[in-house]
């Protein structure tokens, strides 16, 4: 079977699962949303107190279990890390702020589009602009440095965290918050979410599908390998929604679930998310998968995403169906400036080091 078709099918499985989870109770056009789900988990743990978005999403636990297990079985699991962890933390932090101003990670963006939400098109436009900006830094020599081997236990941290989250989900001690209304109260059954999440984790670990990587490769090296996976998610999700969620399918900009139609800020929010995703080498779902196969740098990124999501609600940065907040607008602008400064500094230093090396070779 050709690689393209294989990637399309892998992507299609993700799109299908997105539609199934929507059918079985997840919030509108949010069969899967990695940014929202970390936000819900942050809320459940009490890191923010936005009462309508608090729940330990079993899908995230499933992603981690699935990717961890398949990576161990297939020999991909390797404990590694040490590549600019603090920078990654803040890139993850700002990535999710951009995503929560738009209201969705890039994966939910595709699923929103697959259920007729045309605001996803403006979001996608912003995401592509962000990726294009990020790619310019890659061309100039941007790198966060090489990761190195870490103690084995480092690689097991994320899977252990996932086990802890699962226990908290099942036991639900009194210090854990679950929404009684709003998106946080809309949930597919735990076991279904967990199992389908595991399948997503396995498929994404095997296929390496990443929304940022796909568009980056199209822009940077004109390669469509991963893009076929993205297309698979969109096409199959669209078809599955027509069959499974026909009542929820609605084409247009206005009145879409957990979305707003502020075009400008949908674009600018996703510009920030796009830049951060390229600078991190992957979108939130990809970071989750990498974190599950022993990559501590991706683990730090996931923590940055979770903390960023908590701040987004504590500081009133996250949008709502009512629209974008002023705080959110300011935060996105600050975010874009901060990540551009980070990228510029890294590139400048990398080129300096390269020129010095060239000089020393010349003089040798």
């Amino acid at each position: 079977m050709g690689d393209k078709r294989k990637m399309f099918i892998y992507g299609g499985i993700i799109g299908l699962i997105g539609a199934i989870l929507l059918k079985f109770g997840n919030p509108g056009n949010m069969g899967i949303c990695v940014a929202c789900f970390y936000r819900d988990i942050a809320g459940a743990l009490g890191l923010h107190r936005a009462e309508i978005v608090q729940y330990i999403r079993p899908e995230i636990i499933g992603f981690i279990f699935g990717a961890f297990l398949i990576s161990v079985v297939k020999g991909d699991f390797k404990s590694r890390g040490g590549s600019s962890p603090l920078i990654r933390f803040f890139l993850g932090f700002f990535l999710v702020i951009g995503a929560l101003v738009f209201l969705g990670c890039p994966l939910r963006l595709i699923l929103r589009l697959g259920n007729g939400d045309l605001n996803a098109i403006t979001g996608l436009l912003g995401y592509l602009v962000g990726i294009f900006i990020g790619v310019q830094f890659l061309k100039k020599g941007y790198t966060l440095g090489r990761s190195t081997d870490q103690p084995k236990i480092s690689g097991y941290v994320m899977p252990i965290v996932a086990v802890a989250l699962l226990l908290l989900l099942i036991a639900k001690p009194e210090f854990i918050f679950f929404s009684a209304e709003g998106p946080g109260s809309m949930r597919a059954p735990i076991l279904l979410s967990l199992v389908l999440g595991m399948i997503v984790g396995i498929v994404l670990q095997k296929s390496r599908i990443c929304t940022a990587g796909a568009f980056r490769d199209v822009i940077l090296i004109k390669d469509y390998h991963f893009f076929w996976g993205i297309l698979g998610i969109l096409v199959v999700n669209f078809i599955a929604n027509i069959i499974l969620n026909f009542d929820a399918f609605k084409l247009g900009f206005e009145g879409q679930p957990v979305a707003h139609a502020d075009h400008l800020w949908n674009i600018i929010g996703m510009v920030l998310t796009g830049i951060c995703s390229v600078l991190l080498g992957g979108c939130p779902v990809r970071q989750t998968i990498l974190a599950s196969e022993g990559d501590a740098d991706a683990g730090i990124t996931v923590l940055g995403i979770t903390v960023g999501a908590a701040f987004a609600h504590n500081f009133g940065l996250a949008s709502s169906p009512k629209g974008v907040t002023n705080n959110g607008k300011i935060a996105v602008i600050i975010g874009i400036i901060v990540v551009l400064i980070i990228a510029y500094s890294v590139v400048k230093e990398a080129n300096k080091a390269r020129n010095q090396k060239k000089e020393s070779v010349k003089n040798a």
């Binding site: 090296i221 390669d223 080498g281 196969e293």
Partner: protein, 83 residues
């Protein structure tokens, strides 16, 4: 896609672009692509090159100080496993 081909991997994306330019200058057939799944579970950029030019290319990289990470021969088996 052919059954067997070779790829060069890089630590930094920019190195792949520099490498591609150098290969094009030498008129070698080169194509940038995602790192093959067989090599890594990461999703960086690699350069596909003809295996028979391995020696010349590695010599050139050393001479021109082109930073590369690894050189791999990929057996693209016809009967592929999904898992």
């Amino acid at each position: 896609m052919e059954d067997t081909y070779c790829v060069v991997t890089f630590q930094v994306t920019q190195h792949a672009l520099i490498f591609e330019k150098a290969m094009k200058n030498m008129k070698y057939a080169v194509k940038l692509m995602p790192v093959p799944r067989q090599v890594s579970s990461s999703c960086g950029t690699a350069a596909k090159i003809p295996c028979e030019k391995k020696k010349e290319i590695l010599n050139l990289c050393e001479k021109e100080n082109l930073p590369i990470e690894g050189f791999y021969k990929i057996d693209h088996k016809k009967k592929k496993s999904w898992f």
